[in-house]
Symmetry: C2
Subunit: 333 residues, 2 copies
C-alpha cells in the first residue's frame, strides 16, 4: 500500500503531498505507523541541500514516534503494536571496527533516515528495526519525539565527556540547548546558559540553569574567564571562539554539536598551555540512545514543544526558519 | 658562593660567561651541582624572547642533571650526593584545584626554571626539590638529560591519551619526535613517523617506527587517509592540518606539543562527523615524570645525543638553529 508523505521536489521547495510505494520489508526492517514527528534544523538543511547530500524527491523528518505495524522476518526484539522511536540514523554495518567499538553512528557505511530514504513527514515508514527504540511509558509521544535526535545529540557528549561535578556552559538555548540544560542539570552539573535572547533567561533558569549569560555582552563573557570545565556549543553560527576558550579551566572541553559552517581559528599555543580539548559529537550510539530515553523518563526531561497537525508542516517550517518556536515543533498525524 | 653561568643579556644575544649570587636556600629548595644540561628548542625561544616572557639577564637550560649538594630544612625525600634531574617546571602552588587534581604543570601559579629564575647552563642551581627527580641508575646522565623536558612532553600525552593497540603518527623526527617514536613503540603502539628529511627514514625505523612517510609527499599523506588513531605533532611549523586530520579514524586525536605560532583553521563539521579531538599537551605532572623515567629505564629509551663541553654552548646553539643535530645537544660540565 502506498505511503502518503510530504515531499520537497527540489532544493528549498515548499513541501507537497505525495505518495510512494515502499520497498519490500527487509529481514531486519519494521514498518511504523507514525503518530508524531519532530522538526529539526537539519530537516531545513536537507530541504535546502546545504550539505550537498540531499536526494529529491526528499521526505524530511527524523524524530519519529509511532507504532510498529509490521516486522521483517529477523526482527525479534520488537513487537507489533509497540510504541517506538527513530532518530537521524537509519542503519550501520554493525560489523566494522568502528561499529564493534560501540560507535556505530560513526560507521563509514552508516545511513540516515532522510538521506537516500524517505523520512518521517509521512503516515508510515519502513526502516531498520535495530535503530528503532522502545519509548518508556513515562514519556508522552509529543515530548519524546525531539529526544530521538536533539536529545541524544546533547546527551551523548554530556554523558561521555562530562561528570556530575562539572561546571558546564550550554551555548545557544534552542531545540538542542533547552534539552542540554535539562540533561546537564539533572546529571548534577552546574549549568551556565548562553543566549543572545534576553527573554530566554527566565526559561533557561526554569530548565535548570544556575547562571545565564547574554552571549552578546562581551564584558559578561570576559568576566566568566576561567570558570567552566566544558562548553557545549549548540548554535549554527560563528562566535568569538577565543573568548569562549578563555572561559575554560585547564583540561577544559569545547564540544560542538551544531553544524557551524565557518572554520574556527584556533591558537595552538593556547591548546598546549591549558591542555584544552576541542571536539565535536555526532548523535549517539544505540546504547546511549536507550540510556538517554531511560534517563529522560526517570528525571522528567522533556522537550518543550508546540504541536501542529502534519498538514501544517509548511507553516512550521516557515516559522522554524525565523526561529519562532519555543523550542521544538512536533507534527502530529 | 657565586654561581658561574652562561647568560644572554638581551634578546637574541650570544651567551657570555657571568656569575650571580644565589638567593638563600628556601625550606623546600635544594642546590644541585650540575653535570649535564640538554638544550631544548625552547631555550632558543627564551633567548630570543619569542614568547614575550623572557627576563634578562637570562640563564637558559632546563634539562638539568646533577648531584644534590645542599638541602633546605624541609627537604626529606632527597639526600646530599644523590643524582637528580630537573625539567621545565620549577614549582607550583600545590594547593589549588588544578594542582590537587594532579595537573600541577597547569597551575596558574606555576613557575619555570628559566623564567624569572636562572637555569641550567651553569655550574650549580638552587631550585624547588619537589620538582627534582631521582634518576634511575640504568640511565646515563647524558642520555637522560633530554628526558626531563623533551621526554616527559611526549610521554605524557602518549600515556594519557593513547593505548597500546593504537596506530600513532609522530609528526617531526627531532628532539621530541625521536623520543616519541621510542616511547610509543615500547608502549606497544604501531608507529608511523612523518619527516620532511628523507635521510631520517632509516633512523626512524631504528627508533621503532613501522612506517615512515615523507611529510612533503602529499600523495603519500593522502594514501594514509583513515589509518591512524592519534597524531602527535612535535613540529613548530604549520602543516596542511586538514590533510593530517583526514588520516585519523573516528574519535581520532590530534595532539600538539610543539609551539606552532600560526593559528589552525579548523572545520567544525569534520570535528562533529568523526568526533575528532584536537588538543595540546604541556610537559607532564610529577607522577608522570617519575613514571616516564622508570619506563625509560626499563625499556632502554634514551635520547640520541651529541655531548659538548658547556664552554661550547654558543656552538651548540648556533648548530641547533640550523637543526644540525641528531637529535639533542647535551652540555657537560
Amino acid at each position: 500500500m502506498p505511503i502518503q508523505a510530504y515531499v520537497a521536489h527540489q532544493a528549498g521547495a515548499t513541501l507537497e503531498r505525495w505518495e510512494y510505494e515502499p520497498k519490500a520489508l527487509s529481514p531486519y526492517d519494521i514498518e511504523i505507523d507514525i503518530s508524531h514527528c519532530g522538526i529539526c534544523h537539519s530537516d531545513l538543511h536537507m530541504i535546502d541541500n546545504d550539505w550537498g547530500t540531499s536526494q529529491y524527491p526528499l521526505v524530511p523528518g527524523h524524530e519519529i514516534i509511532g507504532t510498529v505495524v509490521a516486522l521483517g522476518e529477523q526482527v525479534t526484539h520488537l513487537q507489533v503494536g509497540q510504541r517506538v522511536g527513530v532518530g537521524w540514523q537509519r542503519s550501520a554495518c554493525l560489523n566494522c571496527d568502528v561499529c564493534a567499538s560501540g560507535y556505530e553512528q560513526l560507521c563509514p557505511n552508516s545511513s540516515a533516515v532522510i538521506v537516500g530514504h524517505y523520512g518521517g513527514f509521512a503516515e508510515r515508514i519502513r526502516t531498520d528495526s535495530r535503530f528503532a527504540f522502545a519509548i518508556p511509558d513515562a514519556l508522552s509521544s509529543e515530548n519524546a519525539a525531539p529526544l530521538l535526535c536533539a536529545g541524544v545529540t546533547v546527551y551523548s557528549p554530556l554523558s561521555r565527556l562530562g561528570h556530575s561535578a562539572q561546571r558546564v556552559g550550554v551555548v545557544g538555548i534552542g531545540g538542542l540547548g533547552h534539552l542540554a540544560v535539562q540533561f546537564a542539570a539533572k546529571m548534577g552539573m552546574e549549568v551556565t546558559a548562553f543566549s543572545s535572547t534576553p527573554a530566554k533567561a527566565d526559561e533557561a533558569r526554569q530548565l535548570g540553569a544556575s547562571n545565564v549569560i547574554n552571549s552578546r555582552d562581551d564584558a559578561a563573557l570576559k568576566a566568566a574567564r576561567y570558570s567552566l570545565d566544558m562548553l557545549l556549543v549548540t548554535v549554527h553560527v560563528s562566535l568569538n571562539w577565543r573568548r569562549y576558550l578563555q572561559m575554560l579551566r585547564p583540561n577544559g572541553i569545547l564540544c560542538f554539536v551544531g553544524a557551524v559552517s565557518e572554520p574556527m581559528q584556533l591558537s595552538i599555543g593556547a591548546l598546549i598551555d591549558k591542555q584544552y580539548n576541542i571536539t565535536g559529537s555526532s548523535i549517539g550510539n544505540r546504547a546511549t540512545m536507550r540510556q538517554m530515553l531511560d534517563f529522560a523518563a526517570r528525571h522528567g526531561v522533556t522537550a518543550w514543544t508546540e504541536t501542529l497537525p502534519m498538514d501544517d508542516v509548511n507553516t512550521a517550517l516557515a516559522r522554524l526558519r525565523r526561529n519562532d518556536v519555543r523550542y521544538r515543533f512536533v507534527l502530529e498525524a
